[in-house]
């Protein structure tokens, strides 16, 4: 019998053991976030941008370099709350690299004639006199950078959280800045703010599910640490109902973040409303972070309940692939189309997750990396296609774009083919890896559905090529703005990785399979 008295026993305080070397990338990013806040608070406006960029890129590169130096580290640290292992490091590296590309896009200042792509003052009401004043004075803000750094820190923590409570903290650290970033578009501010609000409300709602699930699982296992939950599951196999409900609620929270059906409703609005640079950054990195956490929870904590979650995940994967692909067909806005595409892609990655095998883990990670680069590149292209009202995201304005600007058109066609999974692009190898893993685990029907969904998805990707290349440019056709080196680098990196991972994927395939499994 547990009594209150037991809690009052004087336990000597012991210092938690923290492997600072293993979590240094996280600390670098969080520290840089703090510095970035101070820069906003203390430095004069004119000098902020340069210093912010220096802090952001410096931190990202330092974090990446540190991740490289600690490859091979497998350790559970911070009193069991953080696990640094092969998959965690790989995904942290991928997140940081993609964040670098995202930062490049966000730093771009030569696309919009009035400065950058962010609202001059996010606090000014859309259409108000203040806003006009700020815009007229040419105000440019740099507050996005601390938000960006905290979001990246949250993601880096999310993939290595070994404790459900810490995972929740990471989820919030990652999400809250993203909600704000989504609402900061300079053009179409109402749409952007609506997106932010929707994202925030639904995100908060799903977080509540998550934390409620954590509470229930704690009630079952008396611990929030993933390996402990796993061992309790083996110890008490008969009475899992509380754990089951808890797991389901936790999965709701995580599947919301990966944009799986039926938790996908936020995706199109947010992708469309957020500034395109933020959308690209978010689409690529959140997917990795959320899938990283999802796989860790499923494999480490609930690996013993595989037969309970596999049927549910089957249904979700099938729904996600089909709903994403089918609804994407009817979209006329290219950002919304890519949002539904990202939903469909989440379904394909779930196919690899469901395989629940080393090959499945490796395949999913490869897919995530491939998808990240292709997506960020695609959004980089979208940020270049503009007319006088800002970005021209309506598909009708893309008519004949490929004829007018063959280079940009071809690169975008490459991204579309990559997302469609045409051979010699990274998307094909990704699909191949997850399908092979799923078939080896006996999920033949899932693969057949996935193949069908790929065909549906191919239709809308190919349609963009039709619009760009097979239609005559009209008076409404948008023009391609020449970007500065920032976006050019991001774009080139996306295109290069999409091609190289399609033609010579061996090094990265080795990387993902050598990453090994999650530490328990």
């Amino acid at each position: 019998m547990i009594t209150l008295a037991a809690a009052t026993v004087d336990v000597p305080f012991t210092l938690p053991i923290v492997d600072y070397n293993a979590i240094a990338p996280l600390l670098i990013l969080l520290g840089a976030g703090v510095v970035s806040v101070l820069v906003e608070a203390l430095l004069p406006r004119g000098s902020r941008r340069f210093i912010q960029l220096f802090v952001v890129f410096g931190a990202l590169i330092a974090a990446l370099a540190w991740v490289f130096t600690i490859t091979g580290v497998r350790v559970v640290t911070a009193e069991g709350a953080i696990a640094i292992d092969g998959p965690a490091l790989l995904m942290q590296g991928a997140i940081v690299v993609l964040a670098l590309l995202g930062a490049l896009m966000m730093a771009e200042r030569s696309l919009d004639p009035s400065g950058d792509v962010f609202a001059a003052r996010a606090s000014a009401l859309p259409g108000s006199e203040d806003e006009k004043q700020f815009t007229a004075r040419g105000y440019l803000q740099t507050e996005v950078w601390p938000l960006f750094l905290f979001a990246v820190s949250g993601m880096v923590l999310f993939v290595s959280a070994n404790d459900l409570l810490l995972m929740f903290v990471a989820l919030e650290v990652m999400s809250l800045p993203l909600y704000l970033l989504a609402g900061m578009a300079r053009r179409r501010r109402l749409l952007s703010q609506e997106a932010a609000l929707k994202y925030f409300l639904l995100g908060a709602f799903s977080s509540a599910f998550f934390i409620y699930g954590v509470a229930l699982v704690y009630g079952y296992a008396a611990s929030t640490q993933l390996p402990v939950i796993a061992s309790v599951l083996t110890a008490k196999p008969g009475q899992t109902s509380l754990a089951l409900i808890g797991m389901a609620l936790i999965l709701v929270g995580l599947l919301f973040k990966v944009a799986a059906v039926p938790f996908h409703q936020w995706t199109p609005d947010v992708y469309q409303g957020a500034p395109t640079a933020v959308t690209g950054f978010m689409a690529a990195t959140v997917k990795i972070a959320a899938f990283g956490a999802l796989m860790r929870v499923l494999y480490v904590a609930f690996g013993g309940m595989r037969w309970d979650w596999v049927p549910m995940m089957w249904i979700i994967a099938i729904l996600t692939m089909l709903v994403g692909s089918i609804i994407a067909i009817s979209q006329s806005d290219i950002k919304r189309m890519l949002a539904y595409s990202s939903i469909a892609q989440a379904g394909f990655i779930l196919v690899g997750v469901i395989a629940a095998s080393p090959a499945g883990l490796a395949g999913s990670m490869f897919y995530l990396i491939a998808y990240g680069f292709t997506t960020i590149g695609a959004f980089a292209v979208i940020s270049l296609v503009r007319d006088e009202s800002g970005e021209a995201t309506n598909l009708s304005k893309w008519a004949g774009l490929g004829r007018r600007s063959p280079l940009v058109g071809s690169v975008f066609a490459l991204f579309m083919l990559g997302l469609a999974g045409i051979p010699l692009t990274s998307g094909f190898i990704g699909k191949f890896s997850v399908f092979a893993a799923a078939l080896a685990s006996g999920d033949a029907w899932l693969v057949i559905v996935a193949v069908g969904a790929s065909l549906i998805a191919a239709f809308f990707y190919v349609r963009v090529i039709v619009v760009m290349f097979f239609t005559e440019p009209g008076p409404l056709t948008a023009s391609v703005v020449v970007p500065s080196a920032f976006t050019t680098i991001a774009l080139a990196a996306g295109a290069t990785v999409t091609l190289v991972l399609g033609i010579l994927p061996q090094p990265v395939l080795e990387l993902v399979s050598n990453a090994g499994l999650f530490i328990r």
Binding site: R403, L417, I422, P423, L424, F428, I429, K431, F432, S433, F435, A436, L439, A440, A444, V447, I448, V451, G452, S454, L455, A458, F459, V462, R463, I465, V466, F469, F470, T471, E472, P505, Q506, L509, E510, S513
Partner: protein
């Protein structure tokens, strides 16, 4: 050892990049460069073919193999047997012809750049060579799919009024087959990993893989579906008439003449040897599809008023013959199918190119009803048209006759009844081909065509090689048969099929 096949594929690929990099203001230079590169490729093919040893006991010659994606047991492996060799030769011969014949095709249209079209042709040639040379199933699949892209752009950017619809339909239909083949191919890989402990895509290692009969049948279906759509067999043919009628003549030649052969090539190279039991199991279904295709295609062709669509349906009928020859499991039938593939490539080229020349003289109309009496105004053109028509209906003395005759002979050996039905298809073929000729070429010259010019030098040069080859190989098919027969023998041996020995009934019952 010279890496012949890699060089052969790289030359047009490099050429394609070069042509694409030329300035837009130099269209003629782009054409000249494309022609030169395609001729170099042809010359290289000839040199390589001369070194091919028909009597070799090796399954493949000019073999190269390098690890590509070892994580999945994938290698870059090329090599050819007789079948691959003649199909590569077909591609290498048709590309320069298409370049010459299509010299002015793209100028006339305002859309798209000239250099783009010729760069795409060269890229396609390179991919075709790789697809026929691949001896790694994964590599085959990659090129099988990527090959769609140049054609997609050739139809979609340079085609007729329905081009966008036709291009998308072509691509989606092909992707449908391709994706099911992908699922099967992954399945094959998983099976090979379970059986041998190490998953592989190497063609020769996959032959004779022990498989559960149900698994084998399912995997067969994935591959077969892709090939049946590609070839196309009835009922997977609906994309072909649309694609053919929306294409430039040159595109159609490469699409139907060479590309679609990948489907029938795939059946004989992959379906049969890798899934012998399933092939036998499904043979009656395939033969049924082939027979329906022979008659359905011919029947629809009989009622077509659009020449390009007519050729498409006629091709579908011919593909029925080719598939029939493959799935009756006789040496002579399969050899006949390979010869038929070559013959059909040549006759399709002749038909589409002459029709293309004809259409250029009638403001692009391809309706038979718009023509009449062409042989009065343009006797040379009409003569070539006649030759192409006769080649299509398999006149004895032409190479198509050799193919068709061998297929029927092989079919009779195995199934007397099927052979009898298939032979009737020839009659309808003769009917629609001659009707086409009669309506468009004979009679009084229609007023619209007054003053039409006969073929010029360039056009005759484009057509002459086809005529010569059709005749020479028709009268003397030994060069093809000598290289094809050993390959077919190997396929027959792999699948454990034997030719039925000719039986002469002692009672004279006539059975």
């Amino acid at each position: 050892m010279t890496p012949w096949l890699t060089i052969l594929a790289l030359v047009p690929l490099m050429g394609s990049v070069l042509v694409a990099l030329l300035p837009k203001s130099r269209p003629t230079l782009a054409k000249q460069l494309a022609l030169a590169i395609s001729l170099v490729t042809l010359a290289l093919t000839v040199v390589m073919a001369l070194q091919f040893n028909g009597a070799s006991s090796e399954p493949f010659q000019f073999v190269e193999s390098y690890p590509w994606i070892p994580a999945f047991g994938i290698s870059y492996s090329v090599g050819v047997d007789g079948i691959g060799l003649v199909l590569i030769a077909l591609a290498a011969i048709l590309v320069p012809i298409v370049v010459i014949a299509g010299w002015r095709d793209v100028d006339a249209t305002s859309d798209g750049s000239v250099k783009g079209y010729f760069a795409l042709i060269l890229a396609l040639e390179s991919l075709m060579i790789w697809v026929f040379a691949a001896t790694d199933v994964f590599m085959f699949y990659v090129f099988f799919e990527v090959m769609l892209l140049p054609v997609y752009f050739m139809i979609g950017r340079y085609g007729g009024p329905q081009r966008s619809y036709a291009a998308v339909k072509f691509l989606l239909y092909s992707l449908l087959g391709g994706l099911f083949m992908l699922a099967s191919m992954v399945g094959l890989y998983v099976v090979s990993a379970q059986v041998t402990g190490q998953g592989t895509f190497d063609y020769l290692s996959l032959i004779g893989l022990e498989m559960d009969p149900t698994t084998e049948r399912i995997l067969f279906l994935g591959f077969f579906l892709a090939f049946a759509i590609k070839a196309p067999l009835w009922p997977f043919h609906t994309w072909l008439p649309d694609a053919a009628s929306a294409s430039k003549p040159g595109t159609a030649v490469l699409l139907i003449g060479v590309l679609d052969k990948v489907g029938t090539f795939g059946m004989i190279r992959y379906c049969l040897p890798i899934f012998p039991a399933a092939s036998e199991f499904y043979a009656p279904v395939v033969i049924g599809m082939a027979l329906v295709g022979i008659f359905y295609g011919a029947y629809v062709a009989l009622n077509q008023n659009d020449m390009k669509r007519l050729f498409a349906y006629s091709s579908m009928s011919h593909f029925g013959f080719i598939a029939l020859g493959i799935f009756v499991f006789t040496t002579i039938g399969q050899s006949g199918s390979v010869v038929y593939m070559i013959a059909h490539g040549l006759s399709t080229a002749a038909l589409f190119l002459t029709a293309g020349f004809l259409m250029q003289r009638a403001n692009g109309s391809s309706l038979i009803s718009d023509f009449g009496g062409v042989n009065k105004a343009a006797p040379v053109l009409a003569g070539f048209f006649m030759f192409a028509a006769l080649s299509s209906l398999a006149l004895p003395g032409l190479v198509s006759f050799v193919g068709e005759f061998m297929v029927l002979l092989g079919t009779f050996q195995r199934y007397l009844f099927v052979g009898g039905i298939a032979t009737l298809g020839i009659v309808i073929t003769a009917a629609y081909v001659l009707r086409l000729y009669q309506k468009s070429m004979t009679g009084p010259l229609v007023p619209k065509l007054f003053g039409m010019k006969d073929l010029g030098g360039r056009e005759v040069i484009a057509l002459m090689p086809i005529v010569v080859l059709t005749l020479v190989l028709g009268l003397f098919p030994a060069p093809i048969l000598n290289v094809v027969n050993p390959a077919v023998d190997r396929v027959m041996k792999t699948i454990g099929a034997t030719d039925p020995s000719p039986t002469i009934s002692s009672e004279g019952s006539g059975k």
